[in-house]
Amino acid sequence: MSSALEKAKAPPADVPRDGPGLSGPVLEARLARTWGRPRGLIGWLSSVDHKDIGRRYIVTALTFLALAGALALIMRLQLAKPENDLVGAARYNEIFTMHGTTMMFLFAVPVMQGVQIYLTPLMIGTRAMAFPRLTAVSFYLYLAGGCLLWVAFILNIAPDIGWFAYPPLSGPQYGVGKRPDIWAQMVTFTEVASLAAAVTLIATILKQRAPGMSLARMPLYVWTTLVTSLMVVFSMPAVALASSLLLSDRLVGTHFYNPAEGGDALLWQHLFWFFGHPEVYIIFLPATGFVSEIVATFSRRSIVFYPVVVLSVVATGILAFGLWVHHMFATGLPRVGYSFYTAASISVSIPTALQIFCWIATLWEGRPRLQVPLLYVIGFIITFVIGGLTGVMIAAVPLDLQLHDTYFIVAHFHYVLIGGAVFPLLGAITYWFPKFTGRMMSEKIGKLGFWMLFLGFQLAFFPMHVAGIYGMPRRVYTYPAGMGLEWPNLLSSLGSLVVALAVLLFVLNMVRSALGGRRAAANPWDGSSLEWATQSPPADYNFAHIPVVESRAPLWGSRDHLPVVHGLRVDDRELLLTTVMDAVPDVREPSAQPSPWPFISSVAISVMFIGSILSPWALVVGAIPATIAMAAWFWPKGPPELEPTIS
């Protein structure tokens, strides 16, 4: 009998464990030591705590939102009057490219994943993400990608090819210099980051749910996280592949997008939109998760028709992969292609409409409290329905061919993206702010900010429908007078100023509340899900004992006691794994300790990626330090212990 087999059959080691004999403050002090991270800069860079990483993700993404928002303001100032010369044509190309790229790749997806990374372990009752070090790498690579793009902007070598970088404009013939390469490599950074976060979230949700939290009892927000993470897994390889092929066309002379040598620029469009359309739902579905949680809490009842909402989320996730060609109607398609993608594009509105009816029914059946998070939800429903309806309109090919590349499209996607994702996000930040910081946001400033944002948004974006119908094309730096475009543009510009003020107010409210807001109890809104069972903000270990879930609304079942399991070790980091469907306790597994190696690996990978903009050999040479760093990350740092650890 081998030693490994003997160890496998050995009884549990005699190490301290939580339970009736080790509970309360003594346990909490020991857990704090086990789950805390070292102090100082090295400690900060070594953190693998999902709350640290989630918070960093959110703050970074909001910073990029502010930067991209400032660019939007510059564009609106330029367009406020005809034949304006505030910004020249070339700079304007850079600005709209930076705005779109930053909003989509550096704000919208990362902020959603940041919130998911922060909240998911808390909502499912576990102490850490499945792969904490991979989560840390995900953040560092995202940050590096964002810095690459914005440093390029400061150095005046920013991409100027639009956020979807169509060849041949982005190809070697027309995309001179390194601008498109910087765009393409920024995509590589953010996609690797996003994919790493998605895999981690999927494993966490499927294997680490609290005992009793079967899939049928999972919070709706966690359902949306699971579906969007799966969508990331299947869609983001498309853009990673597309941008790699683009880089290779530019760097080593391949011909993927070069029709003269058998390539095709449309290959780019297919690959890009096979990612790009699901991306919209990767941004939107988490927002529907926010809405479901907020509606339930502020209606003081569970969501009506929970299975319908879950199935709608899953259906949207699947249908989202069948729509990409509607971005390509103007490229010319076979007739059957037009019919199929029109039908698919219209059909995706059905599951979303079902969700909206379920929320309205919940509000109808409940006792709604009109506080700031719910106001954002109502603003979302109104705005998103308008955006959804214009989406159904442009799913029709004849109308789409007329409106393609006009401001009508700009209006449409800002209605669905700001209305559908940013409004719920701001509601969610307000809702979970006490959990993030331990303090409440000001209700009074919040309400003022909401109304400014809601009305300012309509003022900024509704006139764009009109400008588009009048024929104003997207991505032009100015327009002539006398075409009926003066008023819609001036109104849009005024509206954008109101939006900017409202966002500024929201940020001021965040800062002021984080510093001196009213202290929050564990469950200040009387929410029903597990994140409200732990203190605000949560301790490093999240839960002193792993909770047991007996219903879909665990905290509304019993108001004074929380059923828990015990027996996890407290002298080292340990997680409880449960079965995928029914969340039956199955295995105790170690969780990774803090480590600087994820950061060092990220630096090595970043050098490799950025170097490859200049020479393909950077991939070969740069892979060596990256491999060494990752091997060091995996390698155990001490002799084996009584029970497994990840040092």
């Binding site: 030693s3 490994a4 087999l5 160890k7 496998a8 009884p11 549990p12 339970g19 009736p20 499945a130 792969f131 991979l134 895999v199 999927i202 494993a203 005992p211 983001m236 390889p237 498309a238 092929l245 066309d249 080593v252 002379g253 391949t254 993927f256 058998g262 390539g263 095709d264 290959l267 690959l271 564990a522 069972a533 203190q535 839960f543 002193a544 004992h545 905290l555 019993s558 006691h561 929380l562 059923p563 828990v564 399991v565 015990h566 027996g567 997680l575 794994l577 995928v580 306790p585 295995v587 105790r588 597994e589 491999t627 995996f634 390698w635 155990p636 002799p639 084996p640 029970e643 497994p644």
Partner: protein, 205 residues
Amino acid sequence: MTLEPRFVRDLAALPTHAFSHRSLTWWGIIGFMLIEGSAFLLAIVAYFFLMSHQPEWAPRPWLPPDLFPGTLFTVALLLSEIPNSMIKRAANAYDTNNVRRLLLVMTLIGLALLVVRGFEFNALNVRWHDNAYGSILWALLLLHTTHILTDWIDTVVLWRLMNTAHGEEPRRMVDTDENALYWRFVWISWLPIYLLIYWVPRIFR
């Protein structure tokens, strides 16, 4: 914890490791297989998209790739599943000695495969910059080579680790088991690519 705990079950007796879908890292590996599988699938779609633009494939005057190195590689890769399955079995039986021996065998096989792969690039009869046909052939071969290379590095690191005291840890058997699982992905994903690189340009000539 703000609510009073009500203890319902002691979990100390649960195991500290498990194989297959009971292991957390297994799910991570499945996730990365899905990602890489999606990338392979999309590259294959791109192959057919580009192929649809050509009256013949491989386009004249380029010759289809020579069969010998790619076929040799494929046969060797398929045969590598024998020691790979033996490793999986040894890992599940907690047989450290056999795992150590077989990991060395897999390391040597991986190295040999990388050498043969080098000759494959030379046998494509087209360069990546000649035309889109050459570009996609090189892309598919390169994409797969990165998988052979990364799994080989993984195997080398694991082989070294298993030769330390950590090789006696049951949990490391799970690592070994999952490394063998990933190798299966590497060879299964090669089979369609082998057909696309070596046979489709012959059949559709």
